[in-house]
């Protein structure tokens, strides 16, 4: 595995895919229709007959009212025969046909099958060609929360499957007829209703919760077959249930940490919260919280993410094939949606963990019409620091808090208004006076409007702010550095369910960025002169249109185009720079004067081919452009990493990604297998020069170098979605490289986050009603790092010589985490539970860092010192809900 050339790698991938298809033709034999059974049914009504088969075999049937009331009688005498044969024989003289649909067998009338129609009184209306529309919103009955990604399945004259959008809205076009509508989602009871469609219909659906537990239900079938039916690939959707059951560091449920257990999503190293998706950098993820960009998604230098799991409804990660509505992030989009707040009854839930306490309040403002949500979290570990006898520790302040607020109003059948906000802050100081604090604030005002049953609109106005401040104070001097990004953002997204074959989405987005790179304030005798680096102003516009075309039952195509335009405005000075990074010229622009506009056409293509009921092949191509760049020389998320916008010299970063995927559901859809492979090229990548000065008032471009990157890999994921044991096994083989002019002799080198192999195993087992246990195990090749290969004496000290960038490896990383949840008291009104976890259960000494220095015992020798952060970290937390 030392050197894989891209070409060889692609051949390898092709072979793997070929093998999979061969395996697939074997696996197909597991279909429900091929299940063997023995049964005797004599002259029973159709419904009763089917019920008997269900009792005998466990296989469920789905059909509309017409079938249920049918007076057809069936006789079956079968001994060790396949269901397929049984049904074929039984329906031989009837106008009935069957097919497998999801985990059930779909039975329907087909008048064309035989002329001898012996249908019931509600005879099947012939297809007239007239089409009607069913649309509405899917929500939870108990809380009134809209449900994202619920599967709406309509069976009757034809069968159709749709998914509710980010606001719970769905729309379907169907021929006139009688249908059964079935709606499923994680953690809710399935909804079923039969209806006659002879006009356009608004059907708002309320789903009952599956139980009154603390969202600690087993992770049951995430909407089945989502992976098969849509063109979307490279997508992972996590419900908060999944996040809460997986054991994590210090017992603090963490969306990003859970995502890092999926193939293609990597960590920067022990404890760091930075997410590296398919070889991209930590800044190349577009992280959206209720549509507002979050620039620093981590707390405490990356050990925790800014997302308080109590306030979060749903998390969707796009690793590839991003829909055209998203842009601005090179390697992924992480779309986080906050809860709306319960509009049925007032509720409180919360928890106390080892390091943080959480409290969440929600309830109706006007029952059924409007609601609010307040969710807060704060760490309190710093309280214990005060007890320490070490003066350098007990003076240290170290905490973070965050606050999520949201309110929403239903203004009628067609309109809904949401207002949401997030405020988070980290404080890290030592010796009372010096320290860093940083924080994000976002607020979003959104208006959902249903123009017609086929046209859904969402309009958002978003404000987003990120700033940090560093202080270095003592009795005589005070020095502070302040930096900020502030965005005003307008977004209009429309979804037009044009007909049963085409769904079109289109919209515009406009963001005004103001970046304050640094403001230095000095008081006292240090000699520092207070100064401001010039603010940078830019306007980021985008327009997109995309259509999903269901060409046939088997083939779907999504094709779209996003046009982004990034305009840089004065007031400010822009520079020209020579190869050595020295300024050779500059030009001043007046306030509002256009400096430059970068246009990027971003094509988005995705195709899916459904091989059979349970198998699909997909391919996609996506181009992304990114105009806000994080200039960082560390792999840990550091608050001082500097965000800069594109300038005349810093060009938009571009990525092109092709991916191929294979999707297979088996064993009655309880297992989901995914294989995806990708090849990605990156342009205009940025890195610091060797010896760059981060704190300088020279133009930032003088400290930078530019180059390109490439990443490729294969990701395999096997998920078990139902039963007492759920979880997944993921494996990634990948390579990530950069080539920057001026680094590593202009040769390709591995990016730090390059890990050849990456395995994660996540298991959750429901032991009893009261106990759920979980375990996860991860293994990854060590990060690519630079170790010295020589030493020399300089100024009386030992220094090290480095030849190639990132040509060495950290030792392999592996770790086992254990978790258990114990349900305590449970009444209608109150429930509580205890969660235990043990992080790094076998105490693997995973290096956070390896440093070389003179040995303390023998100063004449060099030692490599490994720093290990977390071994055997136990935690306990208590959660309650009433």
């Amino acid at each position: 595995m030392k050197k894989i050339e891209p070409k060889r790698f692609l051949i390898f991938i092709a072979i793997i895919l070929l093998l999979l298809i061969m395996v697939q033709s074997q696996a197909h034999a597991q279909s429900m229709l091929e299940k063997k059974m023995s049964i005797q049914i004599k002259d029973e009504f159709l419904k009763n007959a089917l019920d008997k088969i269900t009792t005998e075999s466990g296989i469920k049937f789905t059909y509309n009212e017409q079938i249920a009331k049918s007076k057809i009688k069936i006789t079956v005498i079968a001994k060790d025969k396949m269901l397929k044969e049984i049904l074929t024989t039984a329906f031989a003289d009837q106008a009935l046909i069957f097919s497998q649909l999801d985990q059930e067998i779909f039975i329907r009338f087909d008048p064309s099958k035989t002329k001898k129609v012996i249908a019931g009184p509600a005879a099947n209306p012939a297809q007239t060609g007239e089409k009607y529309n069913i649309s509405g919103t899917v929500k939870s009955k108990n809380s009134g929360e809209t449900l994202i990604g619920a599967t709406i399945r309509v069976t009757g004259t034809t069968a159709l499957v749709a998914t509710s959008n980010e606001y719970g809205f769905y729309s379907l076009s169907l021929p006139k007829g009688s249908y059964t509508v079935e709606v499923k989602t994680v953690g809710n009871k399935t909804f079923r209703e039969t209806l006659d469609l002879d006009k356009n219909l608004v059907l708002n659906i309320s789903l009952e919760d599956e139980s009154n537990q603390l969202e600690m239900v087993t992770v049951t079938a995430s909407p089945s077959q989502r992976n098969i039916k849509t063109t979307q690939m490279g997508m992972e959707r996590l419900s908060i249930v999944e996040t809460k059951t997986v054991p994590v560091l210090m017992g603090e449920p963490d969306v990003i940490k859970t995502l890092q257990l999926l193939p293609g999503v990597k960590t920067g190293g022990e404890g760091t919260g930075g997410m590296f998706v398919r070889g991209g950098g930590a800044d190349q993820n577009m992280i959206l919280l209720d549509e507002a960009p979050v620039y620093n998604a981590s707390h405490l230098l990356g050990f925790f993410s800014t997302f308080n799991s109590d306030a979060i409804k749903n998390v969707t990660l796009y690793k590839g094939g991003m829909p055209a509505q998203y842009g601005g992030g090179l390697s992924s989009v992480l779309d986080v949606k906050m809860n709306d707040g319960n509009n049925q009854k007032f509720g409180v839930n919360g928890g106390i963990g080892l390091i943080a306490a959480r409290l969440n309040l929600e309830g109706p403002i006007q029952k059924g019409k409007s609601s609010f949500l307040i969710s807060a979290r704060r760490t309190y570990a710093d309280m214990f620091l005060k007890l320490s006898s070490d003066t350098s520790i007990n003076k240290t302040q170290l905490y973070f808090y965050d606050l999520n607020l949201k309110a929403n109003y239903i203004l009628g059948d067609k309109d809904r208004l949401y207002i949401s906000g997030y405020f988070g802050k980290d404080v890290l100081t030592s010796d009372n006076l010096s320290g860093i604090n940083w924080g994000n604030a976002t607020s979003t005002l959104r208006w959902n409007h249903v123009f017609s049953p086929k046209l859904f609109s969402n309009t958002s106005v978003i404000f987003s702010n990120y700033n940090y401040k560093i202080r270095a104070n003592n009795d005589e001097t005070s020095l502070s550095l302040f930096s900020q990004i502030r965005d005003w953002n307008f977004k209009e997204d429309m979804q037009w369910y044009a007909n049963d074959k085409n769904t079109i989405s289109f919209g515009i987005n406009s963001i005004y960025h103001t970046i304050k790179p640094g403001e230095v304030q000095a008081i006292g005798n240090s000699g520092f002169i207070s100064q401001n680096l010039q603010n940078r102003f830019s306007l980021e516009n985008a327009a997109y249109i995309s259509n999903t075309w269901k060409a046939s039952d088997r083939f779907s195509l999504t094709y779209g185009l996003r046009l982004s335009a990034f305009s840089i405005f004065g007031k400010g000075e822009y520079f020209t720079i020579d190869n050595d990074g020295d300024v050779i010229g500059s030009k001043s622009y007046k306030s509002g004067e256009l400096v430059k506009t970068y246009f990027t056409l971003e094509p988005r293509l995705a195709a899916s081919f459904q091989v059979n009921e349970s198998t699909a092949l997909k391919a996609s191509f996506v181009r992304n452009a990114q105009n806000l760049h994080l200039i960082s020389n560390s792999n840990a998320a550091s608050p001082t990493d500097r965000w800069v916008a594109s300038t005349n010299l810093i060009k938009p970063e571009l990525s092109d990604q092709v991916s191929l995927g294979y999707y297979k559901n088996f064993a009655f859809n309880s297992f989901e297998f995914t294989a995806e492979t990708y090849y990605k090229t990156l342009q205009n990548q940025i890195d610091y020069r060797n010896g760059a000065d981060i704190f300088t008032n020279k133009p930032i471009e003088t400290q930078l170098l530019f180059g390109k990157g490439r990443a490729y890999g294969l990701e395999l994921l096997l998920k078990k979605k139902t039963g007492r044991l759920t979880g997944w096994l993921g494996y990634t083989i990948s390579r990530t490289e950069r080539k920057i002019d001026g680094i590593n002799n202009n040769e390709w080198y591995k990016a730090r986050q390059d890990k050849t192999h990456d395995i994660s195993l996540v298991t959750i087992y429901q032991l009893s009603k009261k106990w759920t246990v979980s375990a996860n195990w991860v293994y990854a090749t060590g990060n690519a790092v630079t170790f010295p290969n020589g030493k020399y004496t300089m100024l009386g000290q030992s220094y090290y010589y480095f030849s190639e960038r990132n040509a060495d490896r950290m030792p392999a990383y592996h770790r086992l985490d254990l978790g258990a949840t114990h349900q305590l008291k449970q009444t209608k009104k109150f429930s509580s539970e205890l969660t235990f976890s043990l992080y790094n259960a076998y105490g693997r000494k995973n290096p956070f860092r390896i440093a070389f220095k003179d040995s303390e015992t023998n100063p004449n020798q060099t030692e490599a010192i490994r720093t290990t952060l977390f071994r055997f970290v136990p935690s306990i937390s208590y959660n309650f809900k009433f």
């Binding site: 920067g268 405490l300 230098l301 570990a381 350098s392 240290t396 890290l428 100081t429 030592s430 010096s434 560093i470 270095a472 009795d475 001097t477 005798n525 240090s526 000699g527 002169i529 560390s634 792999n635 840990a636 550091s638 060797n690 010896g691 981060i694 704190f695 730090r752 790092v785 630079t786 170790f787 010295p788 290969n789 020589g790 030493k791 020399y792 004496t793 300089m794 100024l795 009386g796 000290q797 090290y800 010589y801 030849s803 990132n806 040509a807 060495d808 000494k845 003179d854 303390e856 100063p859 004449n860 030692e863 490599a864 010192i865 490994r866 720093t867 290990t868 952060l869 977390f870 071994r871």
Partner: protein
């Protein structure tokens, strides 16, 4: 500011029960490279050049001097050849450095030639070196240095630190980017970075600060040398940016020297 950042990192990690232990790694072989360290100062007789080679990490830390090199320094039309006083150490007392003069170094090691030049900047008066009682701690002591930055020119400073006349690994480099023409008060950090308490800073210890005015290329070298072994936050380590042409590591500096001393009360 970088120091502060490191400190905070250190503080937060030590809280999180970090543990350290030595580890054995398979490292790539050393391909020997020449290392040159040369100084011309405005102190009488203080002109020397060390010529050595890199060695593998498993070897001892002993200075790996290279004998038989021809080391010359040229200035104002004079050329002085240095004499080897011990293995790899070349000296002369014929050069008394003068501010404003450019010195050219030429090192010939068995036919391989390395050159460098450095212009000695003007002396900037070192005004004060003092320690407030509250800045004394046995592990970390931070006395203050004071000087007045001359207006109108870019200046670069290098402070070397000694405890009881022993050179410390810590040093500080400053530029006047944020302090042009100002009276500057800044702190030096004397620190016992080992776990060995016997190396703690005691009352009665003599602290010395040596202030040098250096040229920009030397500033760049020393600035990048202090980052060269990688920082705590995972930045990739890189070799410092040398002012020596020809492919050797190290630097050549013509700089001024002022010295102040204090005894911890």
């Amino acid at each position: 500011m970088k120091f502060l950042y490191r400190l905070i990192f250190f503080a937060s990690f030590s809280l999180l029960l970090a543990c350290e232990d030595p580890i054995t790694l398979q490292l790539k072989d050393n391909t020997p490279k020449y290392v040159i360290e040369g100084m011309v100062t405005n102190e009488a007789g203080a002109c020397w050049v060390n010529v050595s080679q890199t060695k593998s990490l498993s070897e001892s830390n002993q200075f790996n001097g290279v004998s038989g090199a021809i080391v010359k320094i040229a200035y104002n039309g004079n050329t002085i050849t240095l004499t080897e006083t011990e293995k790899g150490v070349y000296k002369t007392n014929l050069i008394n450095g003068t501010p404003g003069v450019t010195y050219q170094l030429n090192v010939n090691i068995r036919g391989e030639v390395f050159t460098a030049s450095s212009k000695m900047p003007a002396v900037v008066p070192f005004l004060d070196f003092k320690l407030k009682p509250s800045d004394y701690d046995t592990v970390r002591t931070t006395p203050m240095v004071k000087f007045k930055d001359p207006d109108g020119v870019n200046n670069y400073y290098w402070f070397q630190q000694y405890i009881n006349d022993k050179l410390q690994s810590q040093y500080k480099v400053l530029n006047d980017e944020f302090t042009p023409g100002q009276e500057v008060n800044d702190y030096l950090v004397f620190e016992n970075t080992t776990k060995n308490n016997s190396k703690n800073i005691k009352r009665g210890d003599k602290l010395t600060a040596e202030m040098h005015s250096i040229d920009p290329a030397v500033y760049t070298y020393l600035f990048s040398l202090s980052n060269a072994n990688g920082s705590l936050d995972g930045a990739a380590p890189a070799n410092p940016l040398s002012n020596i042409k020809g492919g050797a590591l190290g630097f050549f500096s013509a700089h001024t020297v002022e010295r102040k001393t204090l005894v911890i009360p």
